[in-house]
Symmetry: C2
Subunit: 73 residues, 2 copies
Amino acid sequence: MSQSTVTEVTVAGMTCGHCSASVTEELSALPGVTDVVVDLHPGEDSPVTITSEAPLDPAAVASAVEEAGYSVR
Amino acid sequence: MSQSTVTEVTVAGMTCGHCSASVTEELSALPGVTDVVVDLHPGEDSPVTITSEAPLDPAAVASAVEEAGYSVR
């Protein structure tokens, strides 16, 4: 049996591939994260899907996004 | 932010739609389960994907499958 957690967040302020790369890098560094997918909508709110081995602390997710220079809606 | 857990199990012994309906019914009754998808391979091992609001107890998943008359690999 395998188990994973899927977290969906909405990130504001990303405008290009560099933005999404920064967010992906920060989120990927969180413990247990195995995959990050950014559905970039330049200049609009963009959905981000994070897969992890266990549930993530929402505060840690928000901090990682802020570390990259953006914010969670 | 929304978070869900995806659990993948392999179930042995299912041969038809009635089998998969029984397994789906038992797994759907577990607390927090929001979706169950059986990829039926009649007479072979079949993957079952369970979506839940929080991580599931592996023993509870195995019990639910056994309750339906089948076993987790």
